[in-house]
Amino acid sequence: MALEKITQVGGRGVYVPGDDLDTDRVIPARFMKCITFDGLGEFAFYDARAFAKAEGQTHPLDDSRFTGASILFSGSNFGCGSSREHAPQALYRFGIRAIIAESFAEIFFGNSITLGMPCVVMTGEDIRSVTKLIESDPAALLTLDLTEKKLSIADMDFPITIAPHAHEALVSGKWDAIADLLEGIDAVRTRVATLPYMAA
């Protein structure tokens, strides 16, 4: 199972502001009544988008200026709460290919990396600078360079950080662990044999 080496993500940006945006917010539970992940894209941030509409406002994900954006910006502790992989699946199927935030909740982070969707950290200050640039020029192309660990927009570069193991997994095309795990099956059996509770 050769996977794509993810070293760069290019595209336009969209900013969904807020800290602690939980996975219930990313995809409300009622849309998880499904047995496949197909079609989840339209439910990304469903309630927040509907609420904005009802208030006569436009949620960034519905703002035509940002249609087709593939790099999502947000605040700290993004993806907290429920472990539902439906959340990154919905974002991915919406068209998001990378998320940039001040910090990420752990389960969401792992789920996203497994889909080959980088989650990288920038300082709040840099996120504000970049999102201001996006606001003034929504067509601006961004390049998230994982090799150089930077985000480029116009002629400016901003440093990014990403957990070393996730970085390695993405750039080496090993972001889905299943192939590596399967290679260790013999070692798994050996380990199982040492654990009395697994003997039954």
């Binding site: 917010r25 992940f37 709460g81 472990s83 992989e85 662990a177 795990l181 509770y197 697994m198």
Partner: protein, 469 residues
């Protein structure tokens, strides 16, 4: 030695180091349910893989089951498709399924311990973030996504990085009317909803030593709400006493061997921690949330905060919370009108939760303006509660007595808030829209505080309502 329980369990379950530096960690016990497993079985089929150790995966159905009309087919076709998919996936792969007709169905985090499947010194994974609950037994238990459910089914392992360990001591005696739920809400309030990122929380101290096994589960359950994927308590006599005689607990001579092994997994007295935080139990009062995450919590006698009273970085969220909750800064939280009272969930849907409330409920009536429901966490809890007469006490007081499931903790079954209803809830999340209505409002609290709110029709101090001194 100087090792924590986490160090020991990790070492005992590490299979090998993967090329990217992650550990391939053996997951001894895998729990699955209908929401996060069907896609994983689909992935196995796509990859032509089979379940490696079917006897180490256990299934139940909880999120989507109706709690009133449970006859199949369910009126919700999507829910019906989900239970059928789980049933056929389990049958096809030889996985034990605590299905509705077995009398053993319930919320996955209540069923595991109840059956004795959850044991000290083990690793557990489940596609549900409240898997941290099982840490109450001294297990290392991870909430995982669906791709990892696939990984565990196919390889009984997953790729993980060892977390740091923060020891959280709570010492002293809780005041009457203050519960384990208040302890964890207080901890999250103080350490923040992201304070636990990268950490496992090891809970200890004299308060935890005195806690029952079920109280420990309530605390460990909400570790994830503090950002810690894993939370645990070192196993002790309380743990062993709870496990003795349960269906999957070791029997006969195996029991003594197991207890000796379990004792040895506890953290060493000189274990080294990455961080230590200590709380005084006497300072904790009944706690309720006022906002849209579990860290936005105050004592019942406190006032709804002004945004400028919270740290600057939390202000925007505080403003958003006040707008959503329709609460006014400076007003007491006490006295806020309640529409729905929900007693249940993997946090507080166990027998002891129901017993504690029932103690105070005789002769009381649910306020006319409140819809109050009790949802036992499992069919096992329900049947014992019924035989003890607890169900009758709840019904007599005006609560609806329901069948086991996740119910109103999340909007995946018919139990949902409507419009802007405010729910006094013993569950674990007050996120926007969590209880099924995008504009619904959730106030988290202990089970007895839920009962107090149900009776008075407003958020109340249970100590006053029930004259607890």
């Amino acid at each position: 030695m100087s090792q924590t329980l986490l160090d020991k369990v990790w070492a005992a379950h590490a299979v090998r180091t993967l090329p990217n530096g992650a550990t391939q960690l053996l997951i001894g016990t895998h729990l699955i349910h209908e929401v996060t497993s069907p896609q994983a079985f689909g992935m196995l089929r796509d990859l032509n893989l089979s379940v490696l150790y079917p006897s180490r995966t256990f299934a139940t159905v909880d999120h989507i089951v109706p709690t009133d009309e449970r006859a199949e087919p369910f009126s919700d076709e999507l829910a019906d498709a989900m239970i059928k998919a789980l049933r056929s996936n389990c049958a096809e792969n030889g996985i034990t399924f605590f299905d509705l007709p077995t009398g053993k169905q319930g919320i996955v985090h209540i069923v595991g311990p109840e059956q004795g499947i959850t044991q000290p010194g083990t690793t557990i994974a489940c596609g549900d973030s409240h898997t941290s609950t099982h840490g109450a037994f001294g297990a290392i238990a991870f909430g995982i996504g669906t791709s990892q459910v696939r990984d565990v089914l196919a390889t009984q392992t997953m790729a993980l990085h060892k977390p740091k360990v923060r020891r959280i001591n709570v010492n002293g005696k809780l005041s009457p009317g203050v519960y384990a739920k208040d302890v964890i809400l207080h901890i999250i309030r103080k350490l923040g909803v992201n304070g636990g990122l990268g950490y496992a929380y090891e809970y200890g101290g004299s308060t935890f030593d005195a806690f029952t096994q079920e109280e420990r589960m309530t605390v460990c359950n909400m570790s994830i709400e503090g950002g810690a994927r894993v939370g645990y308590v070192n196993p002790d006599e309380t743990t062993f006493e709870y496990l003795k005689g349960r269906p999957y607990s070791p029997k006969g001579a195996d029991w003594d061997t197991a207890v000796a092994r379990w004792k040895a997994t506890a953290s060493d007295p000189d274990a080294k921690y990455d961080d230590i935080v200590t709380f005084d139990a006497a300072e904790i009062a009944p706690t309720v949330t006022w906002g849209i995450n579990p860290g936005q919590a105050i004592f019942i006698h406190e006032k709804v905060p002004f945004p400028n009273e919270v740290p600057e970085k939390d202000r925007a969220t505080a403003e958003e919370a006040l707008a959503h909750m329709l609460l006014k800064s400076g007003n007491p939280i006490k006295g806020t009108k309640v529409d729905v009272a929900f007693l249940g969930s993997c946090t507080n849907g166990r027998l002891s939760d129901l017993q504690e409330v029932a103690r105070y409920l005789r002769g009381r009536k649910v306020n006319k303006g409140v819809k109050a429901i009790v949802v036992p966490g499992s069919q096992g809890v329900a049947s014992v509660a019924e035989s003890m007469g607890l169900a009758a006490i709840f019904r007599e007081a005006g609560f609806e007595w329901r069948g086991a499931g996740c119910s109103m903790c999340l909007g995946m079954n018919p139990d949902k808030l409507v419009g802007e209803q405010l729910c006094a809830s013993s569950s674990n999340r007050n996120f926007k829209g969590r209880q099924g209505s995008p504009t619904g409002r959730t106030v988290l609290m202990s089970p007895l505080m839920v009962a107090a709110a149900a009776i008075s029709g407003e958020i109340s101090d249970a100590r006053e309502v029930f004259d607890i001194k």
